[in-house]
């Protein structure tokens, strides 16, 4: 029992500590692929440090919502991080049905962010909030149809158990995993405001979705938001990598190795995807998200008809 908790705590520390590095790696690969030298891999850490030192200014029209929202954002994401397995270590929080908690704790973060954006009263932020809410509506089914379908197939309702039940040796599982990893990737792209749904590097306030909501934040508030967004990206990365653990083998070393190479491979995939594709029209984003949902449904159909 004691060792479980220790492993769980180490997992969280790894996630919290390495998430900016993950973002830095993606940016570096993107830079190299477009023929630039690019910012150092550790740039996200420097950025966070820089933002942390700056003065926090709140809009005069804002209420307490704007002040608590950044903190709620970080806390909820830390809780979500505590539910994910690193390697095959048991996460700190793991119980039957925790996929529901996982989905809605992220939903809570989004809810407060949207509230805070509207709280400031700028027309931009309201626009961003409206976009975020609309696209979240389409993104939510993706999670439940993909992770949910695996849960349905394996019969478990805890993230750890679901991943634990995956065996790469079983061919039919292999099909499900490939399908799921595609739709989770599409979900991650949308949730973490990456291309083609949102452009993390744009300075064009009218086209932003996620970034526009934090346009009026500064100092420690911006630090919290920025850090949460790095964590969020890494959380979705882990959600993706975890499909590929051959858990049945129960080798510590292999688990960690797959975690590291999986993360690195994912940064590469993200880097390539963001280099070679352009952002889609905003009105086409629901189509993109519905496509990912359809893939999840496909999973269920395959299972039902082959059983």
């Amino acid at each position: 029992m004691g060792i479980d908790i220790l492993q769980g705590i180490i997992s969280i520390i790894i996630i919290l500590g390495l998430s900016p590095l993950f973002a830095g790696l993606v940016n570096k690969q993107k830079a190299i692929l477009t023929g630039r030298i690019g910012a150092p891999i550790l740039q996200p850490y420097y950025d966070l440090q820089k933002i942390f030192k700056k003065e926090t200014i709140n809009a005069t029209s804002s209420s307490f919502i704007s002040r608590i929202s950044p903190l709620i954002n970080l806390v909820t994401l830390v809780i979500a991080a505590a539910m994910l397995p690193v390697g095959f270590w048991k996460p700190l929080i793991s119980f039957s049905g925790d996929i529901i908690l996982f989905a809605y704790i992220l939903g809570l973060a989004r809810f407060f962010q949207i509230l805070a954006a509207m709280d400031i009263g700028s027309s931009f932020e309201g626009m961003g909030a409206a976009r975020e809410a609309t696209f979240a509506l389409f993104a939510e089914p993706i999670f439940f149809f993909t992770i949910g379908s695996i849960s349905f197939i394996s019969g478990f309702t805890s993230l750890f158990d679901i991943y634990h039940s995956i065996e790469l040796t079983n061919i039919s599982y292999g099909v499900f995993i490939i399908i799921c990893s595609i739709s989770v990737f599409m979900l991650a792209v949308s949730e973490c405001s990456r291309m083609p749904v949102d452009d993390p590097n744009t300075h064009l306030e009218l086209t932003m979705i996620h970034e526009v909501m934090i346009l009026d934040n500064s100092g420690i508030d911006l630090f919290l938001y920025q850090y949460s967004s790095y964590i969020k990206l890494f959380i979705y990365a882990i959600l993706e990598i975890s499909f590929f653990y051959p858990f049945s083998q129960q080798s510590y070393l292999l688990g960690i190795l797959i975690f590291i190479t999986g993360s690195a491979a994912l940064t590469f995939v993200l880097g390539v995807v963001e280099t070679i594709i352009s952002r889609s029209k905003m009105k086409n984003i629901p189509q993109y998200l519905l496509f990912a949902t359809a893939i999840g449904i496909l999973n269920l159909l395959i299972y039902t008809f082959t059983k």
Binding site: K30, G126, N201, L204, L206, R279, K281
Partner: protein, 492 residues
């Protein structure tokens, strides 16, 4: 004859202008607009005699410029507005009204161009308002999230769709036209170079041509060719930058980075010629400041061949990408009819199927002997404006390589004499963005009494605003970039 006809860069005696009375003036201009002429200026020919104004209209078909004079000495500064029938004159009337207190009667929308306080008499500006539960207003700028020039944009939206976009400019107003009148010879070229930082060569070209005509100075063919080569290199560089910007706005990292790299090579060629990457210091009255040595020619050719080679590949990549095409095509459409009626110019006009290129319709300098082909596309969307850029780059390369290998011999600079007294000139140049007009006139001792500048942005900002109707607000930055208009060129 109710008006006089001149050619591009032809100096004329300002005494020869026929000044018509109020109604006659209005009708004559109306008549000319009806026959397909386009207004390019509306201003007093002498800044100190505001009661006598000229309307300058260009007729592309016959390559002539009509000058209609209006005399308002007796009575009020009022004339019947043309803007209801010919929306292209709208902004010119506003400008005249703002600067010389004229009142265009029945003007549909008299609004400030650069100085907020004049027309409004210090009352706050009333934005167009849309009311209702579901509509919302988004105000952007004048300070933006990126490092760009200041301008205020106000969108009236229904959800993500724009109903109306109102653009307020003037934050960069430096009174350039006034500065020209008080400047000495050495200062003037520097002033012309800084009218719009991205069209340094275009504006300086127009300025030098104008003053050389006033001084009856004939410049050597070699200088002419060097000028046009520089202008074409500027076009290449700015079009590359525009394509890079378009790619960047759709988040297309690969072309964006490549165009940026290639633009550097192009402007470095300008630096090789004159020491400034934007072409500052190249132009001088009577010719150019720097000659092309064999070494420079070799380097420029080398540089540009590399650019040409790489641009071809990256263009192919961009224009065959499904993602990019889905963003470009049918976004921000401005059809031929609308473009004609609001008097769109330059690249944007040619992308809407208007055959209007000063280098062809009003040939000047070396373009008189070495023609360039017209790039014309009909769809009028972002794609057309992007594609037109790519095609103009190809055409500019052809021109530059052809000219640089056959440079005429001769000296590069002739001494410019004093400006002729009582003369005027209209100098039109095709900058990379479009038609640049400089109008200069002198008094009886040969001093400048009026200097009027029209940047293509002056016409096209209104086009951008109309383009945005019924377009998604998230597509605004893309449409804006496809026009790529200048704030300082408009604000002067």
């Amino acid at each position: 004859m109710k008006w006089i006809d001149v050619q591009n860069n032809q100096s004329f005696d300002i005494e020869s202008i026929v000044y018509l009375r109020k109604d006659d003036f209005s009708n004559t201009v109306s008549e000319l607009l009806q026959t397909g002429s386009r207004m390019i200026a509306l201003t007093p020919i002498d800044k100190n005699i505001p009661q006598k104004i000229i309307a300058v209209l260009s007729d592309s078909a016959s390559s002539t410029i009509h000058i209609v004079g209006g005399d308002f000495s007796d009575g009020k500064f009022e004339f019947e507005s043309w803007a209801n029938k010919f929306p292209q004159t709208n902004y010119f009337e506003c400008e005249l009204s703002e600067n010389y207190s004229y009142l265009p009667v029945n003007h549909p929308w008299l609004r400030p161009v650069r100085k907020q306080s004049v027309i409004l008499k210090n009352k706050p500006y009333q934005f167009f308002k849309l009311e209702g539960e579901e509509v919302h207003e988004v105000a952007v700028g004048p300070i933006h999230a990126g490092v760009i020039e200041p301008g205020h944009f106000r969108f009236q939206c229904h959800g993500e769709l724009i109903y109306n976009l109102e653009i307020i400019l003037g934050y960069q107003h430096r009174a350039v036209e006034k500065l020209f009148l008080n400047a000495n010879q050495n200062q003037r070229i520097i002033l012309a170079e800084s009218i719009a930082g991205d069209t340094t060569i275009g504006h300086t070209f127009a300025h030098c041509s104008a003053l050389e005509s006033l001084a009856q100075t004939q410049i050597s063919l070699r200088a002419d060719v060097i000028r046009t080569i520089a202008a074409e290199i500027e076009r290449v560089a700015m079009h590359l930058s525009g394509l890079g910007g378009l790619s960047n706005d759709i988040g297309f990292a690969l072309p964006s980075a490549s165009y940026g790299r290639l633009r550097t090579l192009a402007i470095n060629s300008l630096a090789a010629i004159c020491g400034s990457r934007f072409g500052r210091g190249l132009f001088a009255y009577g010719g150019v400041q720097f000659d092309f040595t064999d070494e420079i020619i070799k380097m420029v050719i080398n540089n540009l061949k590399t650019v040409q080679n790489d641009v071809q590949k990256i263009n192919e990549y961009l224009f065959s990408s499904v993602g990019a095409l889905s963003r470009f095509e049918e976004t921000g459409i401005i059809n031929n009819e609308l473009a004609n009626s609001i008097g769109l110019v330059g690249l944007a006009a040619r992308s809407s199927g208007i055959e209007d290129d000063i280098r062809i319709n009003f040939p000047y300098s070396a373009y008189r002997y070495n023609p360039i082909s017209m790039i014309n596309l009909s769809t009028g969307d972002v794609f057309a404006r992007a594609r037109a850029r790519a095609m103009e780059i190809d055409e500019a390369f052809r021109f530059v390589f052809e000219q640089i290998e056959n440079l005429p011999q001769g000296k590069i600079k002739t001494e410019m004499g004093n400006l002729n007294a009582n003369s005027g000139v209209i100098s039109i140049v095709e900058g990379w963005r479009g038609e640049i007009v400089h109008i200069a006139s002198t008094d009886n001792s040969g001093n400048l009494t009026q200097y009027k500048i029209k940047d293509p942005s002056f016409n096209n900002w209104y086009g951008l605003s109309l383009t945005m109707r019924n377009t998604a607000i998230s597509d605004f930055p893309l449409c804006n970039k496809s026009f790529d208009l200048s704030y300082s060129g408009h604000d002067l």
